[in-house]
C-alpha cells in the first residue's frame, strides 16, 4: 500500500510538473508574438518608435526580457507565491483573486452534479440491467444522453424552461437585484439560478454512468462466481448485490478518467447560463485576449482535476480491500 501511494503521488507530481511546463511553454513557443498582438490590437498610433518602447516596457513587465531558463524558474517561483499575474480584462485585479472569486461557483455546480449523476446512474443502470422492458428504454436513452453536447442540452433547457415557460432564470448565479447575504430570499435565488445548469450537467453524465453500469452488471452476472452462487440457490437479490460491488470498482476508476470531460462540460454549460464560474471567466478571457487569465484558468482546472483524482484514489483504497493488502488491485 505504501508503494501504491508513493507511486501515485509521484505520478501526480510529474503530471503537475508537466502541466505547469506546458502552461509556461505555450505562450513562449507558439508562432506569433502575444505582446506584439496585444500592441497592434490596442494601439492606434503607427509610430514605430512608440511601439518599440511599448514593446520593451511590456516585455519587461511580463518578465520576458530575461533568458528562458530564468523565465522558467521565475514562473515556478511566482506560482508558489500565488502570483499568477494581473488580469488585463479586469485590470488591475490579480488573476488569482479573479479566479478565487469564481471557484466557489464551480465547486457548487460540479461536485453535486458529478456525485449525484454517478450515484444515480450506477443505481439505475444496475437496476435496468437484465430487465427486458427497462433495458430497452434505458439503453437508447442513455446512449442519446451521452452523445448530447453539454451546451446543446443547456441551450434547450434554457430555452424551454427559461424563455418559453419562463419559470427559471437563464443568466447569473443570483438575481441581479440582490446583494449576497445569508437571507432566505438570497439562498432561494441562488438555488433557483443553480438548478438548470445543474440539471443539464447531471443528465449528460447520468446517461454515461447508467450505460456503463448496465454493461458491467451483465458482464458480472455472467462470471463464474455468479453462476456458482446461483447454483447454490442464493437469491437473485444477493447475487446482484455481489455483482454490483464488483462492477462499481471500474466505475470509480472511470470517474477519475472522466473528470476532464465533465470539467469541459461545465465550462460550456456555464457559458450558456452566464454562470460566473471559471468557464464563463474563460470565455471572457478568450474574447478579450487576456492571456494571464487564460493561463490561470488552465492551472486552476489542472489543480482541481488532480486533487479530485487523488481523492478518488483514496476512496478506491477504502473500497477495494485488495489494494490495501498489497495485492495489485485494478487501478494499481
Amino acid at each position: 500500500m505504501k508503494q501504491y501511494f508513493s507511486r501515485k503521488i509521484l505520478i501526480y507530481l510529474l503530471t503537475f510538473f508537466l502541466a505547469v511546463t506546458i502552461d509556461w511553454m505555450i505562450p513562449r513557443f507558439m508562432p506569433g508574438d502575444p505582446i506584439l498582438n496585444m500592441l497592434t490590437r490596442v494601439s492606434v498610433s503607427s509610430n514605430a518608435t512608440a511601439i518599440e518602447h511599448m514593446y520593451q516596457y511590456y516585455s519587461h513587465l511580463f518578465g520576458l526580457d530575461v533568458p528562458l531558463w530564468q523565465q522558467y524558474l521565475n514562473f515556478w517561483g511566482s506560482l508558489f507565491k500565488g502570483d499568477l499575474g494581473l488580469s488585463s480584462y479586469i485590470f488591475p485585479t490579480p488573476v488569482s483573486k479573479v479566479l478565487l472569486r469564481a471557484v466557489p461557483y464551480d465547486i457548487f455546480l460540479l461536485v453535486p452534479a458529478i456525485l449525484l449523476a454517478w450515484y444515480a446512474g450506477n443505481k439505475f443502470g444496475a437496476f435496468a440491467a437484465r430487465s427486458k422492458w427497462l433495458d430497452n428504454t434505458v439503453s437508447p436513452v442513455g446512449y442519446v444522453l451521452t452523445a448530447t453536447p453539454y451546451m446543446w442540452l443547456g441551450i434547450l433547457l434554457a430555452y424551454f424552461f427559461g424563455i418559453v415557460l419562463g419559470i427559471f432564470p437563464i443568466a447569473g448565479a443570483y438575481s441581479f437585484s440582490l446583494t449576497p447575504n445569508l437571507s432566505l430570499k438570497f439562498i432561494v435565488s441562488v438555488l433557483h439560478h443553480w438548478f438548470l445548469p445543474f440539471v443539464s450537467l447531471f443528465l449528460v453524465e447520468f446517461g454515461g454512468w447508467a450505460i456503463g453500469m448496465r454493461n458491467m452488471i451483465i458482464y458480472e452476472l455472467e462470471a463464474d462466481y455468479s453462476h456458482y452462487l446461483g447454483a447454490l440457490g442464493a437469491p437473485k437479490k444477493l447475487i446482484r448485490k455481489y455483482a454490483f460491488r464488483n462492477a462499481i470498482l471500474p466505475q470509480i476508476t472511470g470517474l477519475a478518467l472522466k473528470l476532464g470531460v465533465v470539467v469541459a462540460g461545465a465550462l460550456v454549460t456555464e457559458v450558456v447560463f452566464s454562470y460566473p464560474g471559471i468557464g464563463y471567466l474563460l470565455l471572457a478571457a478568450i474574447q478579450n485576449q487576456d492571456y494571464f487569465l487564460i493561463q490561470g484558468c488552465f492551472l486552476f482546472i489542472i489543480i482541481g482535476v488532480l486533487l479530485a483524482n487523488f481523492i478518488i484514489d483514496i476512496v478506491y483504497i477504502i473500497v477495494d480491500p485488495r489494494t490495501r493488502r498489497g495485492m495489485a488491485g485494478e487501478a494499481a
Partner: protein, 283 residues
C-alpha cells in the same frame, strides 16, 4: 472468402448496425452534396429582414443577421465529418503506435510509455486544447482536428497496450519471432489483424469524441476562424440572443445533428461488437 460473407451476413442482420449506418450515411451525404447543391455562402447576409423562421425559400430559416441556416448547417456537417476523420484518425494512430510499442516491447520501454500515457490521461485535454488554441491567431478546421487528435490518444493507447500484452505471448507470435521477422512486421501482420475489431471500435469512439470535443472548443470561442461549424453555429446563436428572441431554428439543427451522429456512432459500436463477438449476438 466464406469469412467475409459471414461478416456481411451478421452485419446486415444486426438492426442496430444497419439503422446507425443509415443515419450516419444520411448526414454524410447531406454534408457532401449539401454545399454543392445549395451554393449560398454560409456567412452571406441574404435575408434583409434578419431572422425569419423556416420557409420554402430558407429551408431552416435565417439567423439574426439574415444568414441562411441551412447553408451553415450543411457546411457544418462537412466540418464535423472532417474533424471526426482527421482528429479520430490521428488519435487512433498515435494510440496504436504507443500501445503497440509499449505492449510488445514490455520492460523499461513499457514502463516509460505507460507512465507517460497515465500522466497525459489525467491532464484534462480540453484545458490543454484551450490554451493552445487561444494562442493561435488563425485556426482552420484541419488545425483544430490535428490538435484534437494529438490530445485524444491516451485511453486508446492504454487499451491497445493491454490487448497487445495478452497477444504477444501466443504461439503464433513466438513462431513469427523464431522465423526472424522484424518487430514492426510482427505487430502489423500478426498482432494487429487479431485485434482488428478492437481497432475499428476504438476509431469509431475516437471519431465521435473528436466531434464532441470540436463542438466544445468552438462553443467556447476557440473554433475555426475562417469557416463555419456546428459548434460555432451554437456559439453565435447564444451570443446573439437566439434564446431571447426565440430563434429556435438557429440552435436546434446543429445540436440535434451532433447528438444524432454521435449517438448513432455509439450504437453502431454496440452493433459491431455483437457482429465481431459471437457471444453477444442475440439469437
Amino acid at each position: 472468402m466464406k469469412n467475409k460473407n459471414e461478416f456481411l451476413y451478421f452485419s446486415l442482420r444486426n438492426r442496430k448496425l444497419v439503422a446507425s449506418l443509415i443515419i450516419i450515411l444520411f448526414f454524410l451525404i447531406l454534408g457532401i452534396i449539401g454545399p454543392t447543391i445549395d451554393q449560398t455562402d454560409p456567412f452571406e447576409y441574404i435575408n434583409p429582414l434578419g431572422s425569419s423562421p423556416p420557409s420554402k425559400e430558407y429551408w431552416f430559416g435565417t439567423t439574426f443577421f439574415g444568414q441562411d441556416v441551412f447553408a451553415q448547417f450543411v457546411s457544418g456537417l462537412r466540418a464535423a465529418f472532417l474533424v471526426g476523420t482527421i482528429g479520430g484518425g490521428i488519435g487512433t494512430l498515435i494510440g496504436m503506435l504507443i500501445g503497440f510499442t509499449a505492449g510488445y516491447r514490455g520492460g523499461i520501454i513499457d514502463e516509460i510509455l505507460s507512465s507517460f500515457t497515465n500522466i497525459v490521461l489525467v491532464i484534462p485535454t480540453m484545458a490543454v486544447l484551450l490554451i493552445i488554441a487561444a494562442y493561435l491567431d488563425v485556426r482552420s478546421i484541419t488545425t483544430e482536428s490535428i490538435l484534437i487528435g494529438i490530445t485524444a490518444w491516451p485511453w486508446t493507447a492504454r487499451a491497445i497496450r493491454a490487448q497487445t500484452f495478452s497477444l504477444r505471448t501466443r504461439e503464433f507470435v513466438d513462431l513469427a519471432k523464431l522465423s526472424g521477422m522484424k518487430a514492426y512486421k510482427i505487430i502489423f501482420s500478426e498482432i494487429a489483424p487479431n485485434m482488428m475489431s478492437y481497432l475499428v471500435l476504438a476509431f469509431i469512439l475516437q471519431f465521435g469524441g473528436a466531434i464532441l470535443n470540436a463542438a466544445t472548443l468552438d462553443f467556447i470561442g476557440l473554433g475555426p476562424t475562417n469557416s463555419i461549424s456546428l459548434g460555432l453555429m451554437m456559439q453565435y446563436s447564444v451570443l446573439w440572443g437566439a434564446l431571447q428572441f426565440g430563434i429556435w431554428w438557429w440552435f436546434i439543427p446543429p445540436g440535434l445533428a451532433i447528438t444524432t451522429i454521435v449517438g448513432a456512432l455509439y450504437i453502431m459500436n454496440v452493433g459491431l461488437d455483437e457482429v465481431f463477438n459471437p457471444k453477444l449476438r442475440e439469437m
